[in-house]
Symmetry: C3
Subunit: 130 residues, 3 copies
């Protein structure tokens, strides 16, 4: 199952938990794994706290201190920092499915990690039964 996300800033974490949960429901898989994949190289996906939006803002800010946009870089498109951050977060997350639902922890949500927006991003959810 595939869905689109429009990001509105250069860097933003977008909570996509509802879309992923919907894909799980639509799949009919009751127990197994849900893999959320990001087919882009300047965006990633991660699981972290969804209750306080300050957490996502802090992760973005911390990554900005670790990997400054100014470089130095060899890749000449002005987005090398975004490529590095995408690999630090990863291009997919794997979440257990139990009883037909995503088995996330109380505070967990799934986030698209945009590092070179604003853009339209595509996400894929793949289900495998247990």
């Amino acid at each position: 199952m595939r869905f689109q996300v429009h990001t509105r800033q250069r860097e933003a974490f977008v909570d996509i938990t509802a879309q992923v949960a919907e894909a799980v429901s639509a799949s009919g898989v009751t127990d197994g794994l849900a893999v959320v994949s990001c087919p882009h190289t300047t965006a990633g996906v991660t699981v972290n706290e969804a209750a306080d939006p300050a957490v996502a803002a802090d992760i973005i800010a911390a990554l900005g201190r670790l990997v400054p946009r100014s470089g130095p870089w060899r890749h000449a498109e002005g987005n090398a920092d975004a490529h590095v951050k995408a690999s630090l977060m990863g291009c997919s997350v794997t979440v257990p499915v139990e009883g037909g639902a995503l088995a996330l922890g109380t505070w967990q949500g799934v986030f698209l990690c945009e590092f070179d927006g604003p853009r339209q991003r595509s996400l894929t959810v793949t289900l495998t039964p247990r």
Copy 2:
């Protein structure tokens, strides 16, 4: 399959390879994947060297230099660094299962990465056949 781990310090890597291997045996899956999931947002999981405990200590220390607890942070609970480190390590690891056993490399072990302990943490192991 689910198991609990009690961590004893604010930051610690706990070798959970034996518990994961036991879950694989109990599942009866002979070939496929074992996914170890951490449903918390200030702890993660990783695979790294289990022979010399200095390796885990070095990873914790390196993450501490990269993401100082002092911030600056917007999240006001005093554990924003732990959230960032959890996303850097990741909330799950996927290990092949071959011949009914975890197919880890010679030096590899699976670790719970505690960044905001001491706490009781819960881990899930999900098996999917090949």
Copy 3:
């Protein structure tokens, strides 16, 4: 399915997309997941841009600035930085399989991330059906 890669420098990203795609074809799985696993603790795997080799060079350089080889380290083998970088990249990547092929994005490739070469490295590809 298993294949070998010879790395030629201490640090290098080796594009292994063709070998992974071949493993997918050989498996006969048409829809599901392909997991590429690295059984080593001073190398990892990641997905990032395969078109411009400057991107991989930039990731290696950025990780070198974040995790200097000089430490300080407790692990006494001179490769503690490589262990940290392996956990930052991760020991496996999971890619959807659709219509019998790897469902990577246009710019994505799968890379072995060597941080303590030159060495012979072994990679495993595990397929699970949807």
